[in-house]
Structures are given as C-alpha cells and as structure tokens.
Amino acid sequence: METKKSLFSRLPVVSQLKKSMGLQRGMLIAGIVMTAAFLLTAALAPLISPYGATQRFNETQAPPSSVHIWGTTAGGYDVFARTIWGTQTAVLVIVVAVALSIFIGVILGLLSGYIGGWLDRILVVVADAIYAFPTLLLAMVMSIAISQGRSNMWSGIFSAAISITVVFIPQYFRVIRAETIRLKAEPFVESAIVVGASSVRIMARHIYKNATRTLPLIFTLNASEAILTLAGLGFLGFGIEPSSAAEWGYDLNHAQTDAASGIWWTGVFPGAAIVLTVLGLTLLGESMNDLNDPRLRGRKRVGKKKNGPTKDEELVDA
C-alpha cells in the first residue's frame, strides 16, 4: 500500500487530499485554508498589523474608523491589531501543549502497555483519576507553580499549555496503551518475539501507523482545547495580561460587558477569531480522521461499490 508513492504524496494532509472526493474534499480544503490562514497570520503579524499588540491609544471604546478599522477596547487597544497578534499567542500555546502531551502520553502508553503488570495498573488508575480532574483548577495551580502567578506572556502560555497537557496525557495514554496491548497479543508480534526479532520495532511501526490515523483528530482537539482553556484562564484572572501580549480569550472576556452595552466591536472580532480558528482546525482534523477510517471514507456510489477491506480495517476489527 505504501510502497510506490512519492514522499510528498505520503505526507499526511496531501495523501488525504488525494483520497478525498466531493463534499469531504470540500470540508478538508476549507479546513486546510482556514488553518493555513491562521498560521500565515501568525507568521506575518508584524506586517499585517498597523500597530503593536500592546500599543495603547487614548481613545477608549472608539467605534471602527479609518484610524482603528475595528475600533478600540476599554483599555485603549486597537482591536484589529489585538486580533492579528492574538494568532501568535494561540500558535505558541498550541505548539507547546501538543508537543508536551504527545511526547509524554505516547511514552507512558507504550511503557504501560508493553511492560504491563503493576506499573500498568497504577498508571491506568492514575490516568483515570486525572481524566476526572477539573482542568480549571489545574490551570490555576500551574500558573502559580510556574510563575508565582505572574501573568506575563510566557508564563500564561506555559500554564495554559501544561494544564492542557496534563489533562490530555490520559487520552493519548489510553489510545497508545490499548494499541500496544492489542498488538502484543498479535500472532505476528508474538512470533517475532519468539524468534528474537525486535518486537519493539514492529510494534512501534504498527502503532505509528494506527496512531497517525487517530492523531490528527486528537491534535486538533488539543489545539482547540488549548485556545479555549487560555480563554478560560483569562476569565479567572490567570491569563495573559493585555500589557504583555494579545490574547483573544482575555479580550473576549472583557468585551462581555461591552456587548451588553451595545459596544459590539470589542467582542465580535476576537470571538470570530476563536470560532474560525477552532472550526478550521477541527474541520481539518475530522476530515483527515474520516478519510483514514474506511468505514467513514466517502463512497463513490452509495451501496454499489464497497471498498475492499484494507489493512487498516483489519486492524480495527481484529
């Protein structure tokens, strides 16, 4: 299945784009476009934004005008500049959170599944317990532990990212562990162990293959969660302060009272930025997930032609 394709066409997004068709392709492309726009905005923020993220103006809550195309906030910040610079903060949180949780979750899942025994039991119970832990509490505690509660840019990013990480590890852990245990019992792995071949390598390869099927969705889930948790932290006063960096959640929280007083421009733009970013990421992740799952992959003609069972499917139904 994966022998003759070029390296390029095997890259996750590209290969899925090729597999897709019709509406599914439309949703995937929409996701790609929105996510790309998000990443580009983050990279080009200094060029796009007319002002700095923390530049303050004396006109507070000014409606949109030619000077401030999306108006200003109660604190005298330019809404357009804040929204553009906010992408950078969001990207940073996502990168830190995802990198950490994948790394730790996968390692623990492999260890737990492979070694088994008491280690496995303990890790499972702990993972279950953490899964039930209120994220917000964790986020607060992390922000205090990391920075003594200082809400500057990096401590805000790390406290949001780490609290998400801790809560998401159990999910990666569960998926990887289940996969490892199942594979360990597979005849070809058992026989590999018997003949002394590197069972770890075999398993790693299969796990990688299956993980790449589930990871896109978990990844986007994590990414969206990171953005929303950062906003929640801002809600409680543990987020990133406006004088340190631009953060959508903070601006949106502070726009609530504006919205109730008819000042719509402070909330709509950061709110739309959050919704569009999460929407784009989730569309991307979900489409990729569907395309990787043979049961959900788009059918050419309903009921007429069924895709032959693939290796993936065998693994799923085993």
Partner: protein, 537 residues
Amino acid sequence: MVAVAGVSLLALTACTGPAGGGGSSQGGGAAGGPIVVGTTDKVTFLDPAGSYDNGSFMVMNQIYPFLLNSSPGSADPKPDMAVSASFTSPTEYTVKLKPGLKWANGTALDSKDVKFSFDRMLKINDANGPATLLGNLESVSAPDATTVVFKLKLGNDQTFPQVLTSPAAPIVDDTVFSPTKVTDDDTIIKGKSFAGQFSIDTYKKNELIAFKKNPSYQGLLGPAKSDSVTLKYYADSTNMKLDIQKGNIDVAWRSMTATDIDSLKSDKNVRVDIGPGGEIRYIVFNFDTMPFGAKTATPDAAKALAVRQAMADTIDRKAIADQVYKGTYLPLYSFVPQGFTGAIEPLKKDYGDGNGAPDLDKAKKVLSDAGVSGPVTLDLQYNPDHYGSSSGDEYAAIKSQLEASGLFKVNLQSTEWVSYSKQRTANGGAYPLYQLGWFPDYSDADNYLTPFFSKDNFLKNHYSNDAIQKLISEQLVTNDKAKRTSIIEQIQTDEAKDLSTLPLLQGAQVAVSNVKVNGTKDTLDASFKFRLGVLSK
C-alpha cells in the same frame, strides 16, 4: 450586537406568562411586592466575629443593632441603640442604652449582650475577623442593664466612636451566639438574633436574602420605609446590568463596570446615583528597593525622592479616571479622600501644573536637579483580579503616560492576588513599586493615615518620618475637633513632600435604581453604609 435601548417594552411581554402567573413569579420588577436589590458582593459569615468584608458587613448593617450609627446623609456617629455615649474619663467611654429593647426573638437586648458581643469578638479573634479594630479596647463592663463602660488602653481615642459603627461592633444576642466560636448562619437565622431595621425571613446564602421590616426597631435610622426588601446576589455584573434594564430588579448596588454605568446613564428607565466613595487606589514605593533605594546598588535618598516626585508630576489622573473608569473613579490628590473631615488636596498644588494636570518640564527639572540622568527604569507591579478587572487597563495607561514623558522606562508586571499579597513584601521588598487599594474600616481620616504612614505600617515599605509619626499619634488623642482637623491637614501636607505612596484615584459609590424607586441617593454618604431601609417605591 443588539441594540439595548427601549427593551423595557419587550420585558413586559416576557413577564406575561400563561394564567397571569408570570407577573408574580418573575418577581420584584412589577409594581408592589418587595424591593429587589441586586449586588455582586458576597456574604462570608453573618457572624461579625468571622468576617471582615463589605458584602457581609452590608447585611449586618440591616439586621444587627449598633451602639452608634450614622443617619443617612452623614458619617458622624450618633447614638443608635444608645441614648448617650461619651468619654467619662480619658480611658473610659460610657454608653447608656435605651431601656426596654428587645431582640426579634423576644429576649431582652441589654448591656449584657453588648459586653458579650465585644468580649467574644476579642476572645474568638478569628483569622478572618475584624478583632484588630478593637486593638485599643482593654475591657468592657456592664455595671447595670442599660450602662456599658469601655475601658481603653490609649486615652481619648478620637476614633473610638467610629469603631463602634465598624464591622467590629454589631451587637449580637448572647442567647444565640457562641461566646467562643464563630456561629454559623443557620443558628443565627433560626435564633432570630435581629434588632436592626430588618429581620431575615428567607436566607439562601449568596443567592438571595428576603428581609422583613422589624417593627420594634427604635434606633437612629427610624423604621424602614418598605415592608420587605429582597437582596439578590449576582456573580456577573453584566447579568445584573441587564436585569436592572429589564426591570427585574429595582436597585443595582455594587459593582458594575464603568462601561455598564456609562450605558445605564443614557437609559430613561433607570437612575444612576453617585455618592462619595471611600475606596482609594495608590502606588506604594518600597524605600529599600525602588530606584536609588537604600538597598540598591546606588542608594541615594534625594534621587529616590526625585523619582517619586517626577512620577507625581507626570501622571495624568484625570485621563485615567475618564478613559478607563468613565468617571466612576475620581482623581485623588491626597492621602485622605475627599469627603472626610480634614481632607485637603496638597498634591494638586505641589505637583504637575498646579491644577491637577501633569507638567513634564517640572518632572524633568526635578530629576535633573537631583542629578538623575537618562530614563529611570521602574519595575511596576499590579494585580489584575482583586481590585476589579480594569486594573490592567489602569496600569497600561500609567505605563504609557510615564513612558511618553521620556523620563521613565516601565516594566509592567501583574501577579495573581494570593501570590501578589505574599510577594509584595517578601525579602524586604520583592516589589519596588506596586499597586494597592484600600476600603476604610470606618469613616475617619485616621483610617487613611495610621495604617500607611506610622512607623509600623502594614505596607512594610521601610518608610518612617518621625515628625509625621508624632503628628499621627497626636491627632489620635486630640479632643478639640478644630485642632485635630488642622493636624490631619498638616500630616497630608508633610506627607505630600515625602510621597511614600502615590495616591491616584478615589472610588465613587454608584447605585442604579429603577425610576420608580425612591431614596437611593440618601444612603450614598461617607459612612459607606448601604441602608436598605431608605428605599421605597
């Protein structure tokens, strides 16, 4: 978003449920029925010994009797449950009670209850309680049923009458309260330990309190103007704002954002009343760690003073009050806020252009005269969650004002409240310059002086000035009112030269009422007691 003007018509349709049930069950807003007051404050304990916060004290003011109190429109302590109160010797303050007073549960309210209340306050000395306010009280005795004698450590304490109106001084029933432990809310409600203008009829902690008029109250405030008042607790001020606009509540009291109030001012159906406020906001300088402070690499008291003075010259308080707070805070040019006996505005003429506005040339001159060259780096700390969510905007404005002068480079840093409180004085001054705010315990100018500028002040900012210390101790025991006032003025004038703190803003009391409600304005005075008894509709 959606235009909110003219929503009251729509609100009426919302109230008409089937079978006419909506009107009564929506509650409050419709004519008749109890007056509904909304607040975002919280009750911690109904027991005075266990709480030291605005939300709890507000409720206590409605239900507990006080020996002294102040009538609406004034902050001067006058006899409430008492017929007279005065110093009978320098260290003895004697209060005579009205005869025949009763608690709502029928038991007698006499000097035993008074002695009991103060004794337990001192004995329990709860970590979260206000017992520290009774620091000057040595003992209480009750020679007969209507006489109470307070024995003081320091004679002629001029703040003591005010202390008797403070959170440390509500009188409680000795048959209901525990003498040694903080008593829980249920016991208090069941025991009906009420003798203020109101009793509590229904109590759901931090959700709602239904007050009923106490017909046997015969104190200073007079009978309550309405039979029942319901206090409704909000978590989010935006909800409270929407409810007062829709007519679901009659009065909104504390705390709404500047944006809310600004938009309510243009709503025909509600009235915004503004009274003097006791809250102040200021910057503290740590004399050891501020630029050129005693423990820095380049200690120089004169240069440090120049830095403080140049900051005072540069900051534009009016711009902050208008831009960030839309007039719900006012510029503060002294250490004692306006409205208190003895308050003057020395910073107005000493700094800036002499009229309250900034003056950059003056700031430059102060710094160059002291030999400070180049921009001074200020590490300024503030807290984003304890003093309202606009602190971030306030300090961003201060930073941009200071930096625009070219004289300062400001590193702004914010920290969550509990860490902030621990850090501000850690290691002799982890925070060289930092934000604090203050609500008075009682309405006396001294409450803005002793805690801040005496040698052992709670700021622990290593500031001390013997001359000011002497004046502070002197005013505390000066019986002659005029003389005391002039000493208080002197302290402010002298302190304005030292600037161990930099006063910025004074809060206003803001209450929003439905136009049908009368009396709200009467209670917005310098006693900072919101008396529900003045409301009627």
